[in-house]
Amino acid sequence: MDDLQKQLTQPSPESHQEWTGKIISSLAIILIGSLVLAILVFLTIKGIALFTDNGISIWRFLSQTDWQPSHQHYGALPMIVTSFSVTILAGVVALPLTLVVAVAITEILPKKMTGLFQPLIELLVGVPSVVYGYLGLTIIVPELQRLFGGTGFGILAATGVLFLMILPTMTSMTVDSLNAVPKQYRQASAGLGATRWQTISRVIVPSARDGILTAAVFGMARAFGEALAVQMVIGNTAVMPKGLIESSATLTSVLTTGIGNSVMGTADNNALWSLALILLIMSLIFNLLIHLVSKKGVA
């Protein structure tokens, strides 16, 4: 009798298991959370040092167009403008193509072809960015040079490379969101006598809209933060971009070329950290956008 009572009132081994699981997972969450927090705090402290310690005004930093760290000119506007142009152009070029490829894979091509294409695209997602950069440097840049003259380096070359880089990611995300549209939608549309084109353009794509937009923002966030591939083809000239095939520089390309050549704690180095802070803030905004877009999702 006592034994049974004991067994019933005391926690069972299974409940112990629950507890251990809970503790381990909360520890993991605390670890990750504090890592993120540490990065945020560290970057913020380093990023504002230029304004607090070196007495450069934030407004001048954001609005001036003259970037010459060796002569104490810290104007980040050219890099901000170039980063945004490259990102938006790559997104705008990639979106229609992604949509067509994704629709073809999910709706039009026979199952066998889909089985061939999907792994292929997923494979492209894993290609390291330096490979894309090298392709850009050896193929895209000389080709642009031949077509338009000049050096071929610049926003257009970077757009081309980033387009190649974000296309696979965006396509596989778009494919997923198109696949998530319930079968009944398609059947109902067919039942009403709609053609395949009508079904795709009026039913499937609109119901997957939020997923597609999320894919686009995700791709653009990746494009914004890409450093290596862009650095190889953009030309790294820290001036206001005058055209699409003029050398310019993005936030990331200035950061990667400059950080190893400056000494921690000097104004030059702090200015680079401020650029990194801008990058961080922008990627937070991109993340927020993804959340906003995907929250209202139907499909």
Binding site: T138, T237, T257, I259, N261, A267
Partner: protein, 289 residues
Amino acid sequence: MKRIITVVITAAIIVGLGIGWIAAKKQPPLSKVTVVGSSALQPLTEAVTKEYRTVSPQTSITVQGGGSGTGLSQVQAGAVSIGSSDIFAEQKDGIDVQKLQDHIVAVSGIVPIVNRDLGIKNLSLTQLRQIYTGKVTNWQQLGGPNLPITVINRAAGSGTRVAFEQVILKGQQAVNAQEQDSNGTVKEIVARTPGAISYISAAYLSPQVQPLKIAGVAATAKNITTNRWPLWSYEHMYTQQKPTKATREFINYMQSKHVQQTVVKQAHYVNIHDMQVQKDATGKVQGKE
């Protein structure tokens, strides 16, 4: 049966680990030397490290890139044993020279290069200065074809650029131009862009690009030792004022006649013992005393 096997295996593992531990205890302790900094010097250091392993197997040496700035600030902070750098610590803002000890381990020539199809093989110092300050913008002005000059500069603050500007620009400000960080990328771009000019470490020269003579003088090792070829810089290894024994020994080995005559030469650097002149941080050159 199963239980016996488990016990035997566990016992074997424990005994194995124990023996290994005792054996490891008996070995002389490993002394560690970390070299961080100049990516231009990294291949040479790695090659020397490989040989040094046979000379002094109980020293473990780690070589990392990161750039001269990183090397200098890390060694100043005491985070690494050696900070390698292409430039004098005096030339870098934010470094306290008093804290550091300079060891010169090689001399590196810097060579202006142009695209192969350009047809120009020789420029004067003045012409180079005019190109890099933006006063001359077309090759026609220098007797070449009617082609705009595409200036490719090196990353601001990098060792190669500081040395180049010290000799060529003499304090004038460089034109706003494309900046590239690595010797390899620069070579690739110059090889592919008609009308492009840049400069790289002599160690990286290849038939892809056309090296330039300056006023008829070629960038040979012999011309560098006498400063007839003025574009060269030291490769430094900075340590704190009191380096450890292992660090000192490694640097001594690096500076030894044997290494300088074999590995350093093979890597297309110039032997420090051959130099007949010396340069100080301000760029002043004088005969070696």
